[in-house]
């Protein structure tokens, strides 16, 4: 029979010994085969059959290269040459082919087999199927890579809070390196006033429960506090005992800031919408003073005038309204007359929203009045709207000419009070309204700083 690795070349085995050894080989859980030095298969045990699918009868006498993938045969030849020279090679990782032609991952230990004279007559190979081990290793490596490259901090700790792993993102979030944190207490990153949280977290983990997206504050190495969301799960050993905890930490500083901005914005929307309702209420109230009926059309026109101011404000990120744009927008109904019968002239000024409301409403009232009784009520009247800024003071005029002869109105209505009293109070200014025979002349004078913040447009 075949010589076995480990069999002493000095004493010749008896037939009983040989049969005994053959039985051991045949019942071995490892696949064991032997070949001649040039690769003809001489023995093939039961485990070989289980692993590779070929029976001993099929394989004895065939070339061992029949179970070696063609692209690996070169390397196999080199190995076998070394073994033929007397070298043993342990746990060589390679591939072998099953009867179905499917490659499997194996680890092979090659040994030379010597005859009683010590001459190498054969090569034995013990083959282990390592497919599952390899798969597990790859799985573990993959998991390790996922943890390492996760944008979340991934940390593990024992049940007394000692840190056992600390990934790159934990390093980025907290500023402590892996070396600094391994074997240190997780309490290092918990602010003093929140230390009790860790007691609660550990108690929860010990009970087998997990903590999902707990939002809290943690401490960076540089002493800064950061907003984090923490998920903590118990870690069990193979027997199911809880031996520690894994902790996933997400930096939610941005999220929290966004949430706070949103809350501020909603408060602003609340405030502004109620202010707008108050404004609508104020207009309705002032239009119906002294028991006057509400002129619904005029009321709706005024609401439209305010709405168009809002559009201009939004276009400029809620910071200011350009005066030129405001005047053009309030004269929207007469836009075809701008440039011929209506002249607009003045430097660019960025009005505060409040100033824009005063001036916008005034221009709206002046335009409505002009269309009804003034320069826009005939075919030839003209209007010059102009403004100047000199030495911190602002002057704006609306001068009508060529319209029907005008006379002061008999009673002071809402429109009249808007262009005078409201503008005067709102802008801390002086307003002059003259009903000249040639047409109406309106003049506003106020400190420039009352209506513009100049270059500084802080958000409200």
């Amino acid at each position: 029979m075949h010589g076995m690795p480990g069999a002493s070349p000095a004493s010749r085995p008896t037939d009983d010994d040989t049969a005994y050894l053959a039985a051991i080989v045949d019942s071995s859980a490892d696949a064991i085969l032997s070949t001649t030095t040039d690769g003809a298969i001489r023995s093939w045990n039961a485990a070989c059959e289980r692993m590779l699918g070929f029976t001993a009868a099929e394989m004895i006498g065939r070339s061992v290269y029949d179970i070696i993938p063609p692209d690996l045969s070169e390397g196999a030849r080199a190995i076998r040459a070394r073994v033929s020279m007397g070298e043993s090679i342990e746990s060589f990782e390679t591939m072998r082919l099953t009867k179905q032609g499917r490659p499997i991952e194996v680890s092979i230990t090659f040994s030379p087999v010597r005859d009683p004279q010590g001459a190498i007559v054969a090569i034995s190979a013990i083959i282990r199927d390592v497919t599952l081990t390899k798969k597990a290793e790859r799985g573990a490596a993959m998991l390790a890579a996922i943890v390492a490259s996760s944008s979340d901090g991934v940390v593990s700790k024992t049940l007394d809070g000692t840190i056992t792993s600390w990934n790159k993102s934990a390093e980025r979030i907290f500023g402590f390196t892996e070396d600094e944190m391994i074997n240190r207490s997780i309490r290092t990153i918990i602010p003093q006033e929140r230390q009790a949280e860790e007691d609660r977290i550990l108690a929860t983990v010990v009970s087998g429960a997990m903590i999902d997206n707990f939002e809290t504050v943690r401490l960076r190495k540089d002493g800064a506090l950061i907003d984090v969301s923490v998920t903590v799960s118990p870690v069990r050993d193979s027997a199911g005992r809880i031996i520690g905890a894994s902790k996933i930490v997400r930096d939610i500083t941005d999220k929290r800031q966004t949430r706070e901005q949103l809350r501020t914005l909603l408060a602003e929307v609340n405030h502004r919408s109620k202010n707008l309702l108050s404004l609508v209420q104020a207009i309705a109230r002032q239009m119906t003073r002294h028991g006057r009926q509400l002129d619904l059309n005029r009321f709706l026109e005024r609401l439209q005038a305010i709405a168009s101011n809002q559009d201009l404000l939004i276009q400029n990120d809620w910071r200011f309204i350009p005066l030129g744009g405001l005047v053009r927008s309030q004269l929207g109904a007469f836009s075809d007359l701008i440039g011929n019968r209506i002249a607009i002239d003045g430097p660019q000024i960025e009005l505060t929203p409040e100033a824009a409301q005063s001036i916008g409403m005034a221009v709206h009232e002046l335009a409505t009045n002009a269309a009804k009784y003034g320069a826009l009520s005939n075919d030839g009247g003209r209007i010059a709207v102009g403004w100047t800024c000199t030495d911190g003071s602002f002057d704006m005029t609306w001068v009508e000419s060529g319209g029907p002869e005008v006379a002061p109105p008999e009673h002071v209505g809402f429109g009249s009070r808007v262009i005078s009293d409201m503008v005067r109070a709102g802008l801390d200014g002086m307003v002059e309204v003259q009903f000249l025979p040639t047409g109406l002349r309106w003049h506003l004078s106020c400190p420039l700083q009352r209506l513009s913040r100049g270059g500084h447009h802080a958000r409200r």
């Binding site: 202010n275 108050s278 409040e354």
Partner: protein, 120 residues
């Protein structure tokens, strides 16, 4: 203050139309309006120059809140009523003890709140 003397009210409101409306309405209700101040500076200077018995404060003045005015009024012993478009919990603490009217409101409610302040 004697009963036959007019009650002087300061209005602090940054919206020109609402401020104008409040002034008209309070005058109609028999108050004498000291002025409509759209900013903290303007309100404080009006307080320095004029006698005030009462004030109406819009909590939010666009770029600022009227909290400094509230502090000045408390120091001077002048009662005031706060009005706001914010919800109550969004108001600075200076307004915690003042009657607060949520915008929009009926003038009659403001007048009643002011009168109550005066007689407390």
């Amino acid at each position: 203050m004697r009963a036959d003397e007019p009650t002087h009210v300061l209005i602090v409101e940054d919206d020109p139309m609402i401020g104008f409306d409040l002034a008209v309405e309070l005058e109609a209700a028999g108050f004498t309006v000291v002025g409509v101040a759209p900013t903290v500076d303007k309100a404080l200077s009006l307080l320095e120059r004029h006698h005030c018995d009462l004030a109406v404060l819009d909590v939010n003045l666009g770029q600022e809140t009227s909290a400094p005015i509230a502090r000045a009024l408390v120091a001077a012993g002048v009662p005031f009523v706060a009005v706001t478009g914010y919800s109550v919990d969004q108001c600075p603490e200076e307004f915690a003890r003042a009657p607060l009217l949520s915008k929009p409101f009926q003038t009659s409610r403001l007048v009643a709140a002011l009168r109550r302040q005066l007689h407390e």
